[in-house]
Every structure is written in structure tokens, then in C-alpha cells.
Amino acid sequence: MHWLVILRFIGLLAVFIAAAMLPPLVVSFIYETMDFYAILISIAVSLGVGVMLTALTAGEKGASINHRDGAAIVTFGWMWAGLIGVMPYLLYGAMPSFVDAYFESISGFSTTGASIIRDVEALPVGILLWRSMTQWLGGMGIIVLSIAILPFIGVGGMQLYRAETPSPVVDKLKPRISETARVLWKVYLLFTLSEIVLLAFGGMDILDAVNHSLCTIPTGGFSTRNLSIAYYDNAYFDSVIIFFMLLAGINFSLHYRFLKGNTGAFTRDPECRIYLIVVGCLIGLVALDLYGSVFESFWRSLRAAAFQVASIITTTGFATEDFDRWPSLSKLILLGCMFIGGMAGSTGGGMKVMRIVLLVKHAFQELFRIAHPHAVSAVKLGGKPVPGDVMSSIWGFSILYFLLFIVCTLAMCMVGLDMTSAFSSVAASIGNIGPGLGLVGPTLNYMDVPALGKWILIFCMLVGRLEVYTVLVLLTPEFWKK
């Protein structure tokens, strides 16, 4: 383990995050809100710490990073980012305790969008923008961003990229990893700007439009309104947000290819086809379930179903309806969506469509092999065989994911939550969705979860965002052996 290299990275990260606090600072200056000094001090402190750390470890410039360093840098980097993100909240006094502020901060960076704030609208604009900013940084990944910006030691960048990217296989769009990261961030930025324009065009307040866009593209789900998107009750806003949520749930490599002029990028990708079909079917099912039982109008049912399915399957977590009051079938479908998540390489959380498709294919292949014991076959995706090590890594991922889900649900019950709240809060945290059911339903928030429960959920959010392995490997003794 190269501790100095890790420290150096932590320092650089602090500088980045300080830079990301500048827009909130400017906004709070323009609107003359009370949070100006809180943000200013936060910037000064993180910049100071960052510059000091990088200066102290200047000798490590260009040092190489191995697999282990990659996992350690990414995990500690995220924990550290959360810690810096806490500063504006605590200095302004937006949160009553450290654990609440850290919960909000990690929920932001991990793009979960679970909030402990009861009255969001009472907070000043600077703090709110910072809150959205954490999601935006976390969506494409703070480490990927640093790879894109820093003239990076190539191979080391690859290790970091792999540890952070939400995909079982790394898709290099460009020969160099820093180029790949830069290209993805450009697409990300383009989407965010387009959404801002479309929302503002529809009449949304410009700051709200910015905040909501910063939280849609990373599939985050923080809102500047207590009622989330339901506040607007506007079909145009709903459809714009549905569109961008679904877009954010698609692999960004495909977006890049599409924008580069490959018009068949989406339809030719097998994972994308399945993703679109699944989303379509689930929307239809929920709409039929809601029609008559919750809403009188079919269009109203369809709109609510489309928004909620898109919001949960892409793991955004915006709400237009209190789906906790919906019939069981719809609730269960939404719960299922929490596990599916977006596509590999998207900003969505969950287990990812690709993993689920491959698991199902693998299971069917076993059936096939029982029927034809001597047949030679391979699991294929889009006509290409999936290597055995990728397959076993997916199995390992899924088992760990469920194990973690079960253990943490038990733990949440132990700290005093009822069953529905316990498992939905854990599912919503591991999957980086945000709102769950029961106590943590879309109209309520996580404030009433006991402190210990909040720590458990913080852990779940980090593990979920960093795709299980990166964090869990740090907990194994093997990792620390010399």
C-alpha cells in the first residue's frame, strides 16, 4: 500500500471539491443569503488542507498505483469527499448533528438522494446548490473527474477508473483513460445543460431548474422543494425529467457513440434494448394497476406510473406521487426496480441491467445443460461470449449485494425500524435511490431514523455506489497483508 500516494490523492480531491464550492458561493453572494460565510470558510479550509497535503507529498508525483491503491484511494476518497461536503451544512447550521450532515453529504455524493431535511425550502440557495452539486460530482464520479482533469499517470488512472466505474467491464472509448474520462464528462455536461434549458424554457425558476438538472443527470434525486417534483404538478416538467432520467440510466458510452453519429448505438446494444423493454413493460403494468384504483383517468395513471418507474429504476428517487399509498403490485414492482437499477456504465445505481440479464441467461444455460449434458455452450450477450471471469465476478457481486442487503436489513430492524421501513431503506440506500416505503416513504424523510441506523445506511450508500467490491475488499484481511 502506498500511503503517500493515497494522501496525495486525498489532497488533490480536497482542492477539486473546494473548486466545486465556488458556484454555490457565487450564488449565495448574488442572492445575499446568510450562508455566504459558511461556504467561504469551507472553501478556505478544504483548499488549505488540500494544498498542504499535495505539497507535503509532492515527491510522489507520477508514482504508480496498483490494484490495492486504486481501491483504497477510491474508498477513502469518497469518505473524505463526504467529510468535506459536511462543512457548509454544519457551519451554516443546516443540520442538527454531525451524523445528519454526513448522511446528507454521502447521500449527495453517492447520488442516493435520501434526505434528512424536513423543510428544504427554508434553506438558503447557496446550501441548496451545494447539495445538488455533491450529486452532480458523484454521478459521473469524482475520481473519474480528477482523471479527466489531471495529466494522469496512465496505468494508475486505469486502476482508479475501474474501482469507481459502475460496470462489470470497462469500456474504453478512447485509447487513453484520461481521454475516455474527459469524453464522458463532456456528454454529462451536455445533458445537464440541455435539461436546464428545457426546464427553464417551461417556466421553472432558473435556480430550481439548475438544481433539479444537477440532480437528474447523476440520477441523484435531491429536490429544492419539500414535495419534490410533485410541487409543480406540471406534465411538461414531468416529461422532461422522465426523459432525462431514462437517458441517465443508459450507458454513457452509448450516448457518446450516438452523439458521434452512430444512430444505431442504442437499438443495437442488447443491454439497452432490454432496459427499454423492461422500463416500457413496468410502466404499462403500474399504469394498469393504478388505473381505477388510485386515479380515475388513464392518462393520469400513465403519467404517474411513467414518472415513478423511471425515477426508481434509474435510481433517481424524485417523486410526483406518494407511492407508499399505492396498491401492493405497484409497490412491489417499484421495490423490484430498486434492485434492477440502470444500465452498466450509466449514472444509475442498483445491480445494473447487464448483471441481471447475464445472471438469468446463465441460469437458463444451466437448464440447457441438464437437457444436453454434453453440449458445449457459452453465455452470450449481443452475440459475443461473456468471459468466465466476468461471469463469476457478477455472481460474486450479486451474492455480496444480497448478503449485505439481508445483514443490513436485520441491523435496521435491530435499531428499531419496522420491517417495511427497514428493508426498503436498505434497498433504497444500497441501490442509491433515496425514498423507500413506510417511515422513509416519498413524503417523509430519514430524519427519524436513529443515529446508528443512519451510519448503517451511510455504509450501504457507499458500498452501493462503489459497486460492492471496491469497499468490501478493504474489509478483508487479505487486502492488508504485506
Binding site: 496512465g154 496505468v155 486505469m158 470497462v170 474504453k172 478512447k174 485509447p175 487513453r176 481521454e179
Partner: protein, 452 residues
């Protein structure tokens, strides 16, 4: 530059590593998943799984916008077909292929136009050439020729008899300036010496001299015996071994050739005239003694099995052979093998790397040779009218730190440069440079730095 490499074997991997470290965009193609995995884990390049001869894959790899294609798979046929396809898809790109089989290179068979090749790397040929150079310069561990063989770069271990030992370079260089010490490797580190530096026993020095003066310099200054080689034993009658035997025969050198395969031996016996072909294993001690190994001036271990080659050389040294030359394929083995004392080592892969680097260096670079593995390079280039190096005394040229101008060749003249030497356009320059200094050296050779 954007460079496509077909074949992620030892050569492909090594070239990809070098080029990506020099900030080129590299895309590697190989049909083996395990090789792709190794690349993905170790290098910052894009690796694609599939056949290098698939036009669809080449297009996916971005051949249209690429500057260069390097085909270095183990199969000549794949390399040639990849280049032919590349020629169709992107006629302007530079195409380099590794071709082992001589017959393909016959100009009557294919002309280069058809194959679309700009440069052919024939590792076995280069290997034999390198061995001959080493034989011609007894005592050298490395020999690189420049300007059609008129200038030689010699790598040499300084023995305790050397007159140079312990004296500052400046006194020597002024006294006798028919050679120049361009680089010194001491304790595993390579540096470009200055006037006040002294040479110690055990150093590996790289010196540049006129071809005809090399043996004088080695004999007088370094006290290396320049007795010509008369008896050579070659182990392994592969393509390189056979070719070497043939060439040595012509030079009236007595050759013994060991080969394990009896059928091959009888074929060799028919083909070769004076060479003694021996059917047997080069690691068979009894057999080696029987064939008077102790009397041999040189043992060349050229089998396909590199571990075997190392063993043959160690054994030959132990049994009294004067010198050995060992063929090694894995570039990663080089540092370890050098510590075994069986210098010199030859490597087919490094020669391939050399040819490719030549095409990538900017300016009018004629030849490039990596020194000491990869820490430094010797470069032969033409002095351009526009470059900053011409028409001013060298003492006023801002030569980058870690680089040295070793020789200037002007027409018939070979000049060992001093501070007052003036380079004129058209001169051939031979330079040595540490890797860090390469970008600045390239700049110096190409454009005038007007804002400096």
C-alpha cells in the same frame, strides 16, 4: 500520434508500453483474451479482442484516423494481410510489419506497393546482423552502426587494464579525440558524463568512434584483445543459427553447429559446406567437452528456448569458452541475465522496437537504438535548415540536459564535436539522450525556438 498495433505478444506489448508512456494514443488488437487482459491491467492503451485481419475490427479500432499500423503477430501471414487491408482503408498511414520468412520478402514475388508496407521488420535478419557486428568487435557487449556503418556505437565493460580508468574524461578527450564516451552505466543507472567525470572499473561505457578506428581504440585505450574470432560454436539451427553459420563460413571462420533434431541435421549437412553439424543437445556437458568447447573463441546460443540459451552460455563459460552471445526473447529477463556475466545478450524484440521508434521520432531521424534496455537512446538524424542546432557554435546551442551530440558526419568527414564545432544543414548527427531529454531533443531537431 495514433498508433494501431496488431498482436499483443512480447513485441506488441513492449511497443505499446513505450509509446503510451510517450503520450501516444495506442490501440492494441489481439485474438487472445488473456493477452488483452494483461494489457488492460498494465497499460493505458485501448485493447480490442479479435482478429487483426478483420476489416470491421480495424475500422472499429479507428484505422481511418490513425497515423501508423504496426503488425507484429507471430504469424507473417496475419501481419501481411493486416497491412494490405490497412492500405485499402487508410492509404496514407505508415505500415510496419514483422516478417520472418525470407521468401515473402523476395521483390519478384510481391512488390511493396501491393503489400502496402513502408517498413519491414525481419527480426531474424537483424539478429544475425547484430551477432556479426558483435563478432567483429571483440569485447563489446553492444554494437550499433550509424551512417551506413561508418560510425559505430560500442557498449563496453571497463576492465581493470583500461587506460581510461580513473582519469577525468576531459583530459582524455582532448588528448585523443578519435572517440567520445557518450554514456556511462554505473550501478544500474545510466548517465551522460561530463568532462570532470572519471570512468571506473566495472562501468559500462558507450563510446562512439569511426568504424576503422574502433579496434585501435579498444586495443589502445581499453586494452581489449582484438584477436579475431577463428572458431565459433552455434547452438540451435533455427533460421538465425543457419544463416549465421552460412555467413561465418564465408568469412573463413570454423563453425560447429549443434542441433537436436536429426532430420534437420542431415538437411543442414547437405546445405552447408564446411560447417561441422553435430546432432546433440547444447547442454550436454560430455558432448561439449568432446567438441573442444574450451578452445572456442565464441559460443552463440540461439535455440528457441531462452532459458536453455542462458544455461548453454553459462556452461560454455564454465568449460572455458572465451565469449558467449545469448539470445533472449523476454525483455523482462534482460536485467537479470546481465548480472549473470554472460554478456552480450541479443534480443530479436528490441530490434523490432528500434525499427518502430525510428518511424515515430520527429524531425528527420534516420535511426534509433535503445541503450541499456530503455533508459536512453542513440539517435541518428539529419540536421535541418530550420532547426536551432545549425550555423552556430555548439557551445551556444541550448542542448538539453541529459543529451549529448556524439558525432557529426559531413560528407566524407567524421567529426567528434567540440564547443567551437558548427553544424551545417545536411550533416548527419549522432546523439545520445536519456529518455527524459528526448522530447526537448526532438524539438531542437525540428523547429526553431523563436521565443526563448
Amino acid at each position: 500520434m495514433k498508433i494501431l498495433i496488431v498482436g499483443a505478444g512480447e513485441v506488441g506489448f513492449y511497443i505499446a508500453k513505450r509509446l503510451s508512456e510517450e503520450k501516444h494514443d495506442v490501440i492494441l488488437i489481439d485474438k487472445e483474451a488473456s493477452k488483452i487482459k494483461r494489457v488492460n491491467e498494465n497499460l493505458d492503451v485501448k485493447a480490442l479482442l479479435g482478429q487483426g485481419t478483420s476489416p470491421r475490427l480495424l475500422q472499429e479500432a479507428g484505422i481511418v484516423g490513425a497515423d501508423m499500423l504496426v503488425a507484429v503477430t507471430d504469424s507473417d501471414e496475419v501481419n501481411l494481410v493486416a497491412c494490405m487491408i490497412a492500405r485499402k482503408l487508410n492509404p496514407v498511414m505508415t505500415k510496419v510489419a514483422r516478417v520472418r520468412n525470407d521468401e515473402y520478402l523476395d521483390p519478384n514475388l510481391f512488390d511493396r506497393e501491393l503489400l502496402g508496407l513502408d517498413h519491414i521488420i525481419s527480426p531474424e535478419h537483424v539478429l544475425v546482423r547484430t551477432i556479426l557486428d558483435l563478432i567483429e568487435v571483440p569485447g563489446a557487449s553492444e554494437v550499433v552502426e550509424f551512417v551506413q556503418g561508418r560510425v559505430k556505437l560500442i557498449g563496453l565493460n571497463v576492465s581493470k587494464y583500461s587506460a581510461l580508468r580513473g582519469t577525468p574524461l576531459s583530459s582524455f578527450q582532448n588528448l585523443k579525440s578519435n572517440f567520445l564516451v557518450g554514456a556511462v552505466v554505473r550501478g544500474g543507472r545510466l548517465f551522460i558524463p561530463r568532462g570532470q567525470d572519471t570512468i571506473r572499473q566495472g562501468d559500462l561505457v558507450y563510446l562512439v568512434a569511426k568504424a576503422e578506428e574502433v579496434s585501435n581504440v579498444l586495443a589502445d585505450v581499453f586494452k581489449v584483445s582484438q584477436e579475431p574470432v577463428a572458431r565459433v560454436l552455434i547452438v540451435g539451427a533455427g533460421q538465425a543459427g543457419t544463416e549465421l553459420a552460412k555467413l561465418l563460413e564465408k568469412k573463413k571462420i570454423a563453425v560447429k553447429l549443434f542441433e537436436k533434431n536429426p532430420e534437420k541435421c542431415s538437411r543442414l549437412a547437405e546445405m552447408l559446406e564446411k560447417t561441422v553439424v553435430i546432432n546433440g543437445d547444447g547442454t550436454d556437458q560430455e558432448l561439449l567437452l568432446e567438441e573442444n568447447i574450451g578452445e572456442m573463441d565464441l559460443v552463440v546460443a540461439l535455440t528457441e528456448d531462452e532459458e536453455n540459451n542462458v544455461f548453454v552460455s553459462l556452461l560454455a563459460k564454465a568449460l572455458g569458452a572465451k565469449r558467449t552471445i545469448t539470445r533472449i526473447s523476454k525483455i523482462g529477463y534482460l536485467p537479470i541475465v546481465l548480472t549473470l556475466g554472460i554478456d552480450p545478450v541479443v534480443n530479436t524484440r528490441l530490434s523490432a522496437v528500434r525499427a518502430i521508434l525510428q518511424n515515430i521520432r520527429k524531425g528527420r531521424v534516420i535511426s534509433v537504438a535503445p541503450l541499456k534496455g530503455e533508459h536512453a537512446e542513440a539517435i541518428e538524424a539529419e540536421a535541418l535548415e530550420t532547426s536551432d542546432i545549425v550555423n552556430v557554435p555548439l557551445s551556444r546551442v541550448g542542448f538539453p540536459k541529459g543529451a549529448i551530440l556524439a558525432t557529426v558526419v559531413r560528407g566524407e568527414e567524421v567529426i567528434i564535436p567540440k564547443g567551437d564545432t558548427v553544424v551545417v544543414p545536411g550533416d548527419r548527427l549522432i546523439m545520445l539522450a536519456l529518455r527524459d531529454a528526448l522530447p526537448r531533443l526532438e524539438k531542437l531537431l525540428t523547429v526553431k525556438l523563436e521565443y526563448f
